[in-house]
């Protein structure tokens, strides 16, 4: 038994099964316009957009340690860019979404340089302050409706598709596509060399620095990329809402508090966590929303209990018990004579 007989694998049976089930689920979801009702499709579209936001926040906070409570800055910025670019520059809504991402990246660069000087709780507060500055700034722009906001003109809505049913399907597919692209991108990134570096930062910054990882630069890249994608998701969110106002666009509750809830419940610092968290959040919301204030109290209690009893979230509990990884990021060394079936 020599070293040559050892080999290294990055896959597992659980991951292969998960990939097949995921592909089947995706086909069923893509076909939703043929089997689901309008209300269900709208709900699922919203769920996909929350999944995308949660996966991005998880990458930033769970891996890069950038606990931002100000991502609504980029959701709102993206939404406003959609309105501005379609109304004043005459761009097609889809082109405007892409441009919102590019502009989001550009805006996030000076923001990052500024707030990266802050650490821990101060960083979190700093991101919130920045988001408030964005909200107050956009409320000053009278062409976009100032403090009361504005609606997307009918002509622009119709440019997406002339028939209402087609528009609704398209908007659903865009949301599904956004979620699939974000989760896939996060997965591929974390599996790469840079992703390995980011995972090292998640676990121990001191050791990561002394092993050749440029911590500031890695965090900076993660912040800019997540901000750009968050701005694109924001543009999509307001393409579905068709109406924007500073309070809705830069809502800390809608775009950050619920997103943090999702990630913490599901399991921070894992790809599976935000997916599970989104499903749990929507299940709670749809069953309890009629209860009014009690719904928010239940959310709070669930969050507190999870943080005390299972700080690594639902996925953390599952992983501890079954040693599962649906998205195979890790490496497994297979000793000679042992099979790699796990």
């Amino acid at each position: 038994m020599t070293l040559q007989d050892y080999h290294v694998t990055r896959s597992s049976n659980a991951a292969r099964v998960a990939a097949i089930l995921g592909a089947v689920a995706l086909i069923i979801l893509v076909a939703a316009p043929w089997w689901a009702g309008r209300a269900d499709m709208r709900l699922m579209g919203e769920l996909f957009l929350y999944l995308a936001l949660a996966s991005l926040w998880n990458l930033m906070a769970g891996y890069a340690g950038l606990v931002s409570v100000g991502q609504q800055a980029f959701v709102g910025f993206g939404g406003y860019m959609l309105f501005a670019l379609t109304m004043f520059a005459g761009l097609h809504p889809i082109a405007a979404i892409v441009c919102a991402g590019v502009l989001g990246a550009l805006v996030s660069i000076p923001v990052a340089v500024l707030i990266f000087r802050l650490r821990g709780a101060y960083f979190a507060i700093g991101t919130w302050v920045i988001a408030e500055v964005f909200r107050l700034g956009f409320a000053q722009i009278s062409a976009l409706g100032g403090g009361s906001g504005s609606s997307l003109p009918v002509a622009i809505v119709k440019s997406l598709a002339s028939k209402r049913a087609m528009r609704e399907s398209l908007s659903y597919w865009l949301a599904l596509g956004a979620a699939v692209i974000v989760v896939t991108a996060v997965y591929l990134f974390l599996r790469s060399r840079k992703g390995l570096a980011l995972t090292a930062i998640r676990d121990n910054e001191l050791a990561a620095g002394s092993l050749g990882i440029d911590i500031w630069r890695t965090k900076f890249v993660v912040y800019v990329v997540t901000s750009a994608l968050t701005a694109m998701i924001g543009a999509l969110i307001f393409l579905q809402k068709l109406r924007i106002s500073p309070d809705a666009a830069f809502s800390v509750n809608d775009w950050t508090a619920f997103v943090i809830f999702i990630v913490v419940i599901g399991g921070i610092g894992t790809i599976e966590g935000p997916i599970i968290g989104t499903l749990v959040f929507f299940a709670l919301r749809e069953t309890l929303a009629d209860l009014g204030t009690i719904y928010l109290i239940v959310l709070g209690v669930v969050a507190i209990v999870m943080m005390l009893k299972a700080p690594k979230g639902i996925w953390g509990l599952i992983r501890r018990r079954y040693d599962l990884q649906l998205f195979p990021l890790g490496y497994r060394v297979i000793a000679p004579g042992k099979s790699d079936k796990s």
């Binding site: 050892y6 570096a197 090292a200």
Partner: protein
């Protein structure tokens, strides 16, 4: 063989506490240098200054002929400086093998299959291969110390800094660790080793320096240094632990 590391009047103070006081010495390529001194003498701070985790108040660090004083830890790691931490700093959510892979890919710059093979070789050398798939957070103290060494080696260092790697180990564990370190030294890696377990240190190092209050107070042939009255005075009471 020339000098690989040169400290030039390096000073660092934390308020009233002096961690390094005009510290100067050279380390030759391929040498094994031992460092001793009482607790709080500034030994670990000296490593932090060499690796770039700390910035000095004044003075210079030269590595392989370049002034690296302004370089951050990551850049010095790429240049060939690696360390083991006194208090192990594992990536606890990752397996032993993944910990090794980080050093091999990020510091040594290896890719894919080549990185994997290299990590397996190092893990065999440091006797952690049977633990390759274990989460680093669940290792014992000896295993954590070996993981520190593994990661440092996977970075393919020119200069290896060992910080009290033998502390807290049993006699048998210590002997096997000393053998591993001897092998690493024999392969041409320059070593600086801080250690309270003096008998382990003396088996490996060619030269010894003694540090107290951030100052180098003695330097020379290991046994002669250990027998000098000045060092005996500092180590009175500490030698019993060794």
């Amino acid at each position: 063989m020339g000098s690989i590391l040169k400290l030039d009047r390096l000073s660092k103070a934390f308020g009233a506490v002096t961690a390094a006081d005009a510290l100067s010495y050279d380390v030759q390529e391929g040498e094994a240098l031992g460092v001793i001194g009482p607790n709080g003498a500034g030994k670990t701070s000296m490593f932090n200054l060499i690796t770039g985790t700390l910035a000095p108040n004044s003075g210079n660090v030269e590595f392989a002929g370049q002034n690296v004083t302004k370089w951050n830890a990551a850049r010095r790691s790429h240049a060939g400086v690696a360390r083991s931490f006194q208090v192990p700093q594992p990536f606890s959510g990752m397996t032993v093998f993944e910990n090794a892979m980080i050093a091999a890919t990020q510091s040594a710059g290896l890719h894919g299959h080549e990185a994997e093979r290299f990590c397996l070789e190092v893990l065999e050398q440091t006797e952690l291969l049977p633990k390759a798939n274990v989460l680093a957070g669940s290792l014992t103290l000896l295993e954590r110390k070996r993981l520190e060494l593994t990661r440092a080696l996977c970075a393919k260092p020119k200069l290896l800094l060992l910080d009290e790697i033998a502390g807290g180990l049993t006699e048998g564990e210590c002997a096997s660790l000393v053998q591993t370190i001897k092998d690493i030294h024999a392969s041409g890696v320059t070593i600086i080793w801080i250690e309270h377990v003096v008998h382990a240190l003396l088996e490996v190092v060619d030269r010894l320096i003694v540090i107290d209050f951030g100052k180098k107070i003695a330097e020379g042939e290991p046994h002669a240094i250990m027998n000098s009255p000045e060092v005996k005075e500092i180590y009175l009471g500490i030698e019993a632990d060794a």
